[in-house]
């Protein structure tokens, strides 16, 4: 058989040698969020990469400077839209630090319970989506099924599946429902069962393991210098979890472990997240044991809390208080504060500056993903193009918080 390129010149047969520019994103089916990577390829190896964020920038910090302190809660929901409850509680704790108030015990347990539920849903989404991007669609559906059970609890508690806006300065919007503990216990069993099934499908799959192991390795020093926190940092073996290192709420009274990895590769990040789901389940069980069934949830502080509705309608004092809280906002003492909690992806910090008025002077969020995504270029450079997908899946970029 004759070769088809018989009439071509020799030079025409050569493959182009100059590097190829490839745009990955901002909307790519295998990317975790709206992020764009400009990649320079030679063959299949990545020579140079520029990670560009900002496609989901919504001016969160500027918007916060226009409303009252309480009106930040719905914006905080939309930062990490996979675990909004953690953002809500993080912001509430920051403002409470500024006001020097501490919420009642029952509320602290409740916040912890809801926060751990959100963390489980965050990790399930991340690991599930990462598996899906690598072609394992079934575990993704498994994990999303489990996540839906958690969202059912959150819907029952807060009235919304995704953007709860449930935190309040000095408490929560509503006390726990009578069925809360029962629902958590029942769902946890199912979620852990599903997790095990999904895990089996992945961790016995040679292709999946080969694509994760020794891919995207980062050293401890680099991860610390790049400001990594959360599961990505713990995968390198640094045991830093805000819940253990600087306990807030009631984390010092519960028993749980901080899972760490060894090599800092994609596989470790995946395994750390799975182990953290189990630890969160442990915490949730203790929350169910320790949380009181009755007692106040909100702090009794008329500076920040709305009065009960029947008093608003029947007494002039409560009407005025309600009016002032809605129209002018709670007056938060002058000062500046940095408060940090463990979010789904790591240390979630809020730096608040108050000028003593009902409107925040400056709300600065320290999103955990921002630093992590800042280090992604290093992981990708020098690797293969196909490794971009597992690496980027494992750092769990959430566009909402990364882009502010």
């Amino acid at each position: 058989m004759e070769p088809i390129d018989l009439d071509l010149e020799e030079s025409e047969l050569e493959l182009p040698a100059e590097p190829m520019r490839l745009n990955m994103g901002p909307s790519h089916p295998a990317m975790h969020g709206t992020v764009r990577m400009v990649i320079e390829l030679s063959g299949e190896t990545i020579d140079k990469v520029d990670v560009q964020i900002g496609y989901l920038h919504r001016g969160f910090e500027k918007m916060c400077e226009r409303g009252t302190w309480a009106q930040v809660f719905p914006y905080a929901d939309r930062l990490n839209y996979v675990s909004p409850m953690l953002n809500n509680v993080g912001y509430a704790l920051a403002v409470e630090k500024l006001c020097n108030i501490s919420v009642p015990d029952r509320c602290q347990w409740y916040r912890m319970g809801l926060g751990e539920l959100a963390r489980i849903s965050d990790h399930l989404t991340c690991t599930g989506a990462m598996a899906m991007e690598l072609g394992a669609f079934t575990p993704f559906l498994w994990f999303i099924k489990a996540r839906d059970m958690i969202w059912d609890i959150l819907e029952e508690e807060t009235g919304a599946r995704l953007t709860h806006s449930f935190g309040r300065i000095g408490g929560m919007a509503a006390p726990p429902t009578p069925k809360f503990k029962e629902m958590v216990r029942a769902s946890l069993k199912k979620v852990l069962g599903i997790l095990e099934e999904g895990e089996k499908m992945l961790l016995k799959n040679r292709i999946f393991i080969d694509r994760l192991e020794k891919v995207g390795v980062i050293s401890q020093e680099d991860a610390i210098s790049l400001g990594w926190t959360g599961p990505c940092l713990r995968a390198t073996g640094v045991s830093y979890d805000v819940r253990k290192a600087h306990p807030y709420l009631k984390y010092d009274e519960v028993e749980f472990e901080v899972p760490v990895g060894q090599r800092g590769d994609t596989m470790d990040r995946f395994l750390v997240r799975l182990a953290e789901i189990r630890q969160s389940a442990l915490i949730l069980e203790q929350v169910c044991q320790r949380m009181a069934d009755d007692g106040p949830v909100n702090v009794d502080d008329p500076r920040v809390m709305m009065p009960p509705k029947d008093q608003v309608y029947n007494t002039i004092e409560a009407t005025i208080q309600h009016f002032k809280l809605v129209m002018e906002g709670a007056k938060i003492p002058k000062g500046e504060v940095y408060s940090y909690t463990e979010g789904g992806n790591g240390e979630l910090g809020f730096y608040l500056v108050s000028d003593g008025s009902g409107t925040p002077y400056r709300v600065r969020i320290r999103p955990p993903c921002f630093s992590v995504v800042g280090g992604v270029a290093q992981l990708i450079q020098g690797g293969m193009l196909s490794d971009v997908v597992p690496i980027f899946g494992s750092v769990n970029m959430i566009g909402g918080e990364c882009d502010h």
Binding site: D50, G59, V337, R366, H404
Partner: protein
């Protein structure tokens, strides 16, 4: 928690530390902008302090003050488990000059954080390897987190431009040309066009 850090800073740098406070349990040092890099390097390297992680960096605009812009860094030490907030004040009333030394050589995360502070507050970092906008696009005019930037201001939509026209490589640009991305608008090559 990090009173030690404040004491060591005062002992080492003396006059360069303008004020310190521990309001709400957050130890804070306000430092002279000229010593910013030296102080950051000291905080990172001093064996008793070891602030090996830069948690956050941001700018806060106070239009009534001179110097007007406050640059705030939050540092954390993983080995010592303590924190400190370091602030410095720069810029005149109009923010004509608003420059500060870059600390990218101390913490690598400062690269993106300084780009963000430049983008949002307009602080120019001297010695930053790649100071360009990170959240906004290159043609965006102004710095949104300054207090005199109107919150409702709209900026014009941009025409599509090629990489050559923009004069920038590896920069943020519209992902598709006018004839790309949609099947009905896609350019179809014919033999004659190729030749």
């Amino acid at each position: 928690m990090s009173q030690l850090a404040l004491d060591r800073l005062k002992a080492t740098f003396g006059d360069a530390i303008l004020e310190t406070h521990s309001d709400f349990g957050d130890e804070t040092a306000v430092v002279r902008p000229e010593s910013w890099l030296a102080i950051c390097r000291f905080l990172r390297q001093d064996p008793a302090l070891q602030f090996d992680m830069m948690s956050d960096l941001c700018g806060v605009d106070y239009p009534d003050r001179v110097p007007r812009m406050e640059v705030v860094a939050h540092l954390y030490s993983l080995s010592r488990r303590h924190r400190i907030r370091v602030k410095t004040r720069i810029g005149d009333a109009e923010l004509g000059t608003c420059e500060l030394d870059s600390v990218t050589s101390v913490w690598r995360t400062a690269d993106w954080l300084e780009r963000e502070t430049y983008d949002m507050s307009g602080v120019l970092f001297r010695g930053h390897p790649d100071l360009r906008r990170i959240l906004m696009y290159p043609e965006f005019v102004g710095h949104p987190l300054r207090k005199d930037y109107p919150a409702q201001k709209a900026q014009p939509l941009l025409e599509y431009r090629t990489e050559e026209e923009a004069g920038l490589t590896l920069e943020k640009q519209a992902p598709f040309g006018p004839d790309e991305g949609m099947s009905f608008g896609r350019r179809t090559f014919t033999r004659s066009e190729e030749n």
